[in-house]
Symmetry: C2
Subunit: 110 residues, 2 copies
């Protein structure tokens, strides 16, 4: 997927996709050397297998509901809820409903 | 306001406050050495005068509508919209309605 460069001051729409969710795909919102934002679109039953990223991340459910497995526990994250995960923490996602999720990733300088 | 230390994996509620907005105040959601999240509660007509912060920031309107002045322009940011601002960029906020806003600040290592 394309990774457009962020423009400081640019308005980004992260409203729920609603009925458009079934025809939408995950997309990068912007990326700078420090920060990356993307919207994951996860149809019910889909997810991401366990993985980790070097930097801290926040996982915000924009619509639907997902199961987040991290720190040896599974919790449901619903629309309007957010979880912070420390860098390097393994985690997996599983959509309980058609869901979209805002991921905010802190990138680490090389 | 208290700045609780983040717990990785902790669920944070950022749903709209709705009618509770008039009795709510801004609060820190969490803070780590790299990242700070807070919810600003801005009653209609209130705001923040022009200021800047060292690190990059995202400003997400959770409910209501705010005017954001940055980069020599004023734009309206409504519920479900987000703006990224580069570190050091002067900006000011003004609430057009009773609003709450999620601020995500990248902190810079000292």
């Amino acid at each position: 997927m394309a990774l457009p460069h962020a423009t400081s001051g640019q308005l980004i729409d992260i409203r729920p996709l609603g009925s458009r969710i079934t025809t939408s795909v995950s997309n990068a919102l912007f990326k700078t050397p420090q920060l990356e934002l993307m919207r994951l679109v996860l149809p019910r039953g889909k997810g991401m297998p366990e993985h980790s990223v070097p930097g801290a991340v926040t996982i915000q459910c924009l619509e639907g509901a997902i199961e987040l497995h991290a720190h040896q526990q599974t919790q449901t994250v619903k629309a309007g809820e957010l979880v912070y995960l420390a860098g390097g923490e393994p985690h997996a996602l599983h959509a309980l409903e058609d869901s979209s999720v805002l991921l905010t990733l802190l990138l680490q300088p090389h």
